[in-house]
Amino acid sequence: MSKPHHETGIVLTEEQKRRRRARSIAIALSLAALAILFYAVTLVKGPGVLQRPL
């Protein structure tokens, strides 16, 4: 006997799982790049990292 729909939920196909994995990796890489960027800017600007011209 198969499980009710609310228990099985949405079942992704292999292709959809691959796409979700690719999106997750892209988000992770973007966040890592952002962290590296903030680190580099902090090194360049030093303690006054938020001081900038108008």
Partner: protein
């Protein structure tokens, strides 16, 4: 509908091919990149880079990279929001029907959330790390492109791309503001060059895409006022553009190399606009296509030689 068939619909092929739109994201990473309009973004980044590089205040490379990244992401966000709002008319036009939303690869809500998130990030990061003035200009540019151009003017008036073209003209001004913290005559001139370049560029395109725009119900100038008036307007704007292109040399912030390129390029633009206006011997679309293609090269050359001149000026003192 049975639970099994409902589940099959939800998990089946995406978008236009599916019986139901999927309730979750099924997009490829490339679809999100397409939402950013990479080709438009490349021109935005290039003109912003030139504005930033020719500014009299030098920037640290990391800060310059940060500024350009924010401007690029902000431009991409505006592109995504434009595609979200225009999905209905994009579906009717040959040129745009394969975009991710009309093709059913990305849900409208996804594009909206993506665009808003990137817009907020780019403005806040630019404002916090680089320059408040540049961030304010970037915010205004995104607002202008999405609300003033996309939501209001594009479907209302044949002057849509004249006024809306301002959005595409702001990037060098943002680059300049990122370096200097303000705006000046030089950055306003760069703005004006792109502002007056936009109408002949897009009207040349619209002359051979008239049916596409008419089918989508967009009141482009050839659709509303006819080809003859469009050709006349192209020539008028080009006659303003050509001397504006030379102005950076005349005002003394570009050197003779730029001046020569601007004069030759401007003369070629006017010659092509005259051909669009008067030459009816060949296929109507040919002259328009040539003007459209050359206008891209012309703008690229103007900005590239601003950079070249600045580099030559730094080494040989050619720029006053």
């Amino acid at each position: 509908m049975s639970l099994a068939s409902e589940s099959a619909d939800l998990c089946g092929p995406v978008g236009a091919d599916a019986g139901l739109a999927p309730a979750f994201s099924t997009a490829e990473v490339g679809d999100y990149i397409a939402l950013l309009k990479p080709r438009v973004m490349s021109l935005v980044v290039f003109t912003a880079f030139v504005g930033l590089m020719i500014a009299p205040v030098p920037m640290h490379p990391v800060m310059a990279f940060t500024a350009l990244l924010c401007i690029a992401v902000g431009a991409g966000a505006a592109g995504a929001l434009n595609m979200w709002y225009d999905a209905d008319i994009d579906a009717k036009m040959t040129r745009t029907s394969a975009r991710p939303i009309p093709a059913g690869r990305i849900l409208p809500g996804e594009a909206l959330a993506f665009g808003l998130t990137l817009a907020a990030f780019s403005i806040v990061v630019l404002g916090l790390l680089v320059s408040l003035a540049a961030a304010a200009l970037l915010a205004f540019t995104i607002f202008f492109y999405v609300v003033i151009y996309t939501m209001w003017l594009k479907r209302q008036t044949p002057q849509n791309i004249v006024i809306g073209g301002a959005a595409g003209a702001f990037p060098p001004m943002i680059g300049w503001a990122a370096a200097t913290g303000g705006i000046s005559l030089e950055s306003v001139l760069l703005f004006l060059i792109i502002f007056f370049w936009t109408p002949p560029h897009f009207w040349a395109l619209s002359l051979y895409r008239t049916e596409d725009y008419a089918r989508a119900g967009i009141p482009m100038l050839p659709v509303v006022s006819g080809e003859r008036e469009t050709r006349r307007q192209i020539l008028l704007y080009t006659l303003v553009l050509a001397p504006l292109g030379v102005a950076p040399w005349l005002f003394g912030f570009a050197g003779p190399v730029y001046g020569v390129i601007a004069i030759i390029g401007g003369a070629a633009m006017v010659a092509l606009a005259l051909r669009v206006m008067y030459d009816r011997s060949g296929p109507a679309a040919r002259a328009s296509k040539q003007l459209f293609a050359f206008s891209i090269l012309y703008l690229f050359l103007l900005f590239a030689f601003l950079l070249v001149d600045r580099a030559l000026g730094s080494h040989f003192g050619l720029v006053g």
